[in-house]
């Protein structure tokens, strides 16, 4: 039962990474979009793609956190104590990102809009980085079973820092790939080219950083490396293949399926980590999935909650994404688009707002639905396998 809940937790982390991670990546591209005039088109596309869905995606984090502390309270307490600093910094980033994003929408004065936008964009960079260091610290066994004090060394090891950078690059990659498809669906050619270049860059960066992390692990933690290249090898290879496939597809031009492949690549990395570590929860300690402080009844309750989530939450998400994909959401409540302020002040026509989507573009939402379905099926299938 502990294994099942461990798989649920990993599935939740995967969903947060491929859905919430992309929202962080959007903030990253917002940060790098340049001056107000030059960055207007990409910022608008990012804004419209993220707005209705980011809160739903964000809840995966809460869900994961709750599963973690309920199913593995001892490990949770140790992680929260030993890695308090990077977790606090990530939380700070989450606060600034959410409020910055929400405020930017309602503000019309450009200078204030810039401040709120900067808070949103900068924290989109910091949050995944610190989350990456936390995962890196756990994976390298830097969290003791009975941590009573925060440790700086735990999350500033080369592996943990590299993990932080990998997270940032992966978020950027996911977001750029999703935005390529989004731009394609809107018939916005310049933006499609714009994000294709960025997706390629991020893919190369994420790949290089992942390889660097792998080599670093080989030196610093041979045992973990052996498991990564042992039983987790298929997943590691899958991640690499997905990255290369996306790179090839982006270069060749077709956008069909690139989102699913990108998400699958990121999912493979996360499951590779999980499989390499299984059944140990905190490496280099005796804490495993079954002895981290929860009872059988708790595990059963969590499995029931997870099943309820599949029944209630998955169709709701499907509805949200389907409506978002058909561009049924957006435009604000007042009958003016959210970015209306900047619109009027510049007076320039915007490609992103040009036309409602032609019916021929509809299959895009189907692809998105299939991608989500695949992730869900993969998650459910995975959940069964470790037992």
């Amino acid at each position: 039962m502990g294994d099942a809940v461990g798989a649920i937790l990993l599935a939740g982390i995967t969903l947060y990474a491929v859905l919430g991670g992309a929202d962080f990546g959007g903030g990253l591209w917002d940060l790098l979009a340049g001056t107000t005039a030059r960055g207007r088109a990409p910022r608008e596309l990012i804004d419209e793609s993220i707005t209705p869905i980011w809160e739903g995606n964000h809840v995966w984090l809460i869900f994961d956190l709750v599963i973690f502390w309920t199913a593995f309270p001892h490990a949770f307490a140790s992680v929260m104590t030993a890695l308090a600093l990077p977790i606090w910094l990530a939380v700070g980033g989450i606060v600034l990102r959410g409020t910055g994003f929400a405020f930017r929408k309602e503000i019309t004065r450009l200078s204030l809009q810039r401040t709120a936008g900067a808070a949103f964009a900068l924290s989109s960079l910091l949050t995944p980085f610190f989350m990456g260091t936390v995962v890196g610290a756990i994976a390298t066994g830097a969290v003791p079973a009975d941590a009573s004090h925060a440790s700086l060394a735990a999350w500033t090891s080369p592996t943990a820092l590299l993990a932080g950078f990998v997270f940032v690059a992966a978020c950027g990659f996911l977001a750029a790939v999703y935005l390529v498809v989004e731009a394609g669906r809107r018939g916005d050619r310049p933006m499609r080219v714009y994000f294709t270049r960025r997706a390629q860059g991020a893919a190369v960066a994420a790949g290089a950083l992942s390889l660097a992390a792998l080599f670093e692990v080989q030196n610093s933690d041979p045992a973990f490396f052996n498991r990564l290249t042992g039983r987790a090898l298929p997943l590691v290879v899958l991640a690499g293949v997905c990255g290369l496939a996306d790179l090839a597809l982006l270069t060749a031009g077709p956008t069909k399926g690139i989102r699913a492949i990108a998400a699958l690549g990121v999912a493979a990395v996360i499951w590779g980590w999980g499989v390499a570590q299984y059944p140990v929860l905190l490496p280099r300690t005796a804490v495993t999935l079954t002895n981290a402080g929860a009872t059988q009844a708790t595990f059963v309750a969590l499995v029931v909650v997870a099943i309820a989530a599949v029944i209630l939450v998955v169709p709701s998400f499907a509805l949200l994404y389907a409506l978002q994909g058909r561009q049924m959401l957006g435009g604000g409540e007042q009958g003016t688009p959210p970015a209306a302020g900047s619109h009027r002040s510049t007076g320039l026509p915007s490609a992103a707002h040009a036309e409602p989507p032609a019916p021929s573009h509809r299959p895009g939402s189907a692809t998105r639905g299939v991608a989500l379905g695949l992730v869900a099926i993969a998650a459910i299938a995975r959940r069964r396998s470790p037992r």
């Binding site: 599963i67 409020t99 309750a301 959401l329 604000g332 707002h353």
Partner: protein, 470 residues
């Protein structure tokens, strides 16, 4: 099982960080709970407005619903992130609590997660679906937000109720050995804590909305728009107020039984005795109540409907197990009850005039009271939280774990507390500033609408907007 032994050792440690950790929890929870109230209850009020707009073709109600939904967007976003902070603080500030009882109190939180999902997903659809979803489909897309807001609140309150009256698990040698999920979700105090908080949320949101429009009316904007806005917030809140007072009264009696030390602090009962007087206001220092009004026998009467009722005092436990700041608990309790009663009177006033004269009361005093009713509801709700949280001290899980045992052993909580106060201060000011800015923008829009004397105002605005767009 060496590791387990070590864990026990860590769990038994007492932290020196419990006071700053409590201050930080109080700050972040006290801030978030206001947003949470709007998250729980505001969607229902917006849906009520949209319902009236759709059913009766009431353009004013429709316009209010659209504008409120923009306010909701801001509040939901800020609430989502401040709620996230609290989730993390459960581990960052209270690792001792989570290590020991995470597997017990986590279950209701898991259920809450489900409702939070539905809330966030359908908020995305409702808030951003105004333009392209057909009327009633849009209205129904808001329904899950309102329903899951209530059930999410119930799930979180289940945790707090469990901390007050823990049960539903067995503990052997410091290890949790079995959990009865049902009992954890519905501990003894749940039956009064859950409705008390949900009603409080509706009062905060309802009176909060009403007070915005009462201010407008006081400033001379006596138009249909302002009266409708006031009514949509005030009427539901005023209707629920008597129920809240009934629930609160029941809760107090149950607390006298379930958490007698908390009750003793609420009512200044030093010794277990009969014919206990009721103190209104007053500060308890060294065995004396200063500046308080004493009503003989009333406390015994309230607890057991007879002056001879025995009330348990705080002398029933050793001084170390008593809440440290008794006067704060008592005064918070009195303020909460006082403000609740005031809100009841305001509601009765409106009901009387409405019944006799078919209109709102005219006196300025009524609108002045209406203008402060939102703040009063917020203060009352915050005071209630002070009572229940301060009153449980020194325990985090009543009778089982002290707050000091639960608190983090990491230093530096003072630093994070300072940062939290600054950041939340900025967010609070920015949120209010943005809501005021929206209100100014809408007033400007209304003036522009007036310059187009015929034709439905919202349609004109829509057309103008789409022209700007394309």
């Amino acid at each position: 099982m060496h590791a387990n032994g070590m864990m026990l050792l860590a769990a038994a440690q007492e932290s020196t960080q419990d006071v700053p950790a409590r201050a930080q929890m109080a700050t972040t929870l006290g801030f978030h709970i206001i947003l949470a109230c709007f998250g729980i209850a505001f969607p229902s009020i917006v849906l009520l407005a949209e319902f009236i707009g759709l059913r009766r073709g009431n353009q004013t109600a429709m316009r209010l619903a659209r504008r409120w939904s923009q306010v909701m967007g801001v509040l939901v976003a800020v609430g989502a992130v401040t709620g996230t902070v609290l989730s993390f603080e459960m581990g960052l500030l209270w690792p001792g609590l989570m290590r020991q009882y995470g597997s017990v109190l986590g279950v209701p939180f898991g259920v809450e997660g489900l409702f939070f999902f539905l809330e966030a997903i359908f908020a995305g659809i409702y808030l951003w679906g105004w333009r392209r979803l057909p009327g009633w489909a849009h209205w129904w897309s808001g329904m899950p937000i309102a329903v899951s807001g209530i059930f999410g609140a119930i799930s979180v309150i289940a945790v707090n109720a469990w901390m007050n009256t823990p049960g539903g698990f067995t503990e052997k040698n410091g290890q949790i050995t079995s959990v009865d999920v049902w009992q954890v979700f519905f501990p003894r105090s749940a039956i009064y804590e859950m409705p008390h908080m949900v009603l409080a949320a509706y009062m905060v949101a309802g009176f909060g909305v009403a007070s915005v429009y009462a201010v407008g009316i006081l400033r001379g904007r006596r138009d249909r728009y302002h009266y409708t806005g006031f009514a949509l917030g005030f009427i539901p809140a005023a209707i629920l107020t008597p129920f809240q007072i009934f629930v609160g009264d029941t809760a107090a009696r149950a607390i006298a039984h379930d958490q007698p030390v908390k009750f003793a602090a609420m009512e200044y009962v030093p010794q277990t005795s009969r014919q206990v007087p009721e103190w209104l206001a007053g500060v308890y220092v060294n065995g004396h109540v200063y500046a308080g009004i004493k009503i003989p026998y009333l406390d015994s009467l309230l607890v057991g409907f007879g002056p001879g009722t025995k009330v348990i005092g705080w002398d029933s436990v050793s001084p170390a197990d008593r809440p440290p700041v008794v006067w704060l608990i008592h005064l918070s309790f009195d303020v909460m009850v006082g403000l609740g009663s005031l809100l009841l009177l305001v509601g009765l006033w409106a009901a009387w005039t409405g019944w006799r004269r078919r209109r709102w009361p005219r006196p300025l005093l009524f609108w002045a009271l209406g203008a402060v009713s939102g703040l009063a509801a917020i203060v009352a709700m915050e005071c209630g939280w002070v009572v229940t949280e301060e009153g449980r001290q020194p325990w985090v899980v009543y009778g089982l774990q002290t707050t000091a045992q639960a608190a983090t052993t990491n230093g530096g909580v003072l630093a994070s507390l300072g940062i939290v106060i600054v950041v939340y201060g900025v967010i609070g000011v920015a949120t209010i500033a943005i809501l005021l800015m929206l209100s100014r923008r809408w007033r400007r829009d209304d003036r522009d609408d007036d310059s187009v004397p015929y034709g439905p105002p919202s349609a004109v605005a829509d057309r103008a907007a789409s022209q700007v767009e394309s």
